[in-house]
């Protein structure tokens, strides 16, 4: 799965996600990617794109949960992203995956609970990251 999230000069966010699914998947199986709120979500607070086991994202609406944690829990983007993917319902069901997210202020969150995630980010606030493994 690949994905991208961005915030532009107007403070508008967007999220895009695309996948070929899982190797040897059953024909007709749909993962998280095209389901709004599960593996792809954006609103006036943030934009989020997920990757990992789609069924786990579908069951927990992990990407929407990031936005909810920000809006109703008044969490920062980083707290909301980590809370959704490393805690809460995702952890309860032993979910596996990661997400990238940005908020309207230009903050970036790259978080996952797996051994690695191919990821990169760049912002006008000085963020410049390219990484693969969890200890980077």
């Amino acid at each position: 799965t690949v994905g991208a999230v961005a915030v532009d000069q107007f403070g508008h966010t967007a999220a895009a996600t695309s996948t070929g699914g899982m190797t040897n998947k059953r024909i007709g199986r749909v993962g998280d990617t095209p389901v709004p709120g599960a593996g792809n979500y954006a609103n006036k607070f943030c934009a989020v794109s997920g990757t990992g086991v789609g069924e786990h994202f579908l069951r927990t609406l992990a990407c929407y949960e990031v936005a909810c944690r920000m809006e109703f829990g008044e969490m920062s983007l980083e707290e909301a992203g980590r809370g959704s993917i490393c805690g809460g319902r995702f952890k309860e069901i032993d979910g596996s995956g990661g997400l990238v997210a940005v908020d309207t202020l230009g903050n970036v969150c790259l978080c996952f609970n797996t051994e690695g995630m191919y990821r990169a980010a760049r912002s006008s606030k000085g963020v410049d990251v390219v990484a693969i493994y969890d200890d980077e």
Partner: protein
Amino acid sequence: QGSVAIAIHGGAGTIPRNSMTSEMDAELRSVLKETVESGYNILTQGGTALDAVEKVVLQMEDNPLFNAGKGSVFTSAGTHEMDAAVMEGHTLRCGGVTCVRGVRNPISLARAVMEKTRHVLLCGEGAEEFAREIGAPFEPPEYFFTKRRFDQLQRAIEKNVTRLDHSVDGKEVEGKTG
């Protein structure tokens, strides 16, 4: 003028260091850097977040290193089925396609669903018919064939498991796939 930012991912999962050669590691990092830079340039030149995310995902769909578009993994039937979605935050507009075959860039088709239909999600044959109506590029099955993905399918069939594209032996997600 507000802050601009972009973040990308190319998949998450079991990625042990010893499973990748130094050349592959370097190539992946180079592609990730190049891709995020191209999206960042769109934003700094006044482009919209929607344009930036579509452009960078499209680039990754065209790169066989990633499990999307050209590099998509095989289904149990030895075919390719792709899903994609896009969402715009300030309008809550979104569009998606599922289980499409042969479409070169599902992410652009998802954006077209958002912008050119009254719907959010189109699947399978209906999505492919819509793609033909708007003149979206299609590719033959050979375009989506990569030996690495084919070998992954053979190993998954032998063990009767379903796997994330970069998972290693012993980290299967589920058993029976029919």
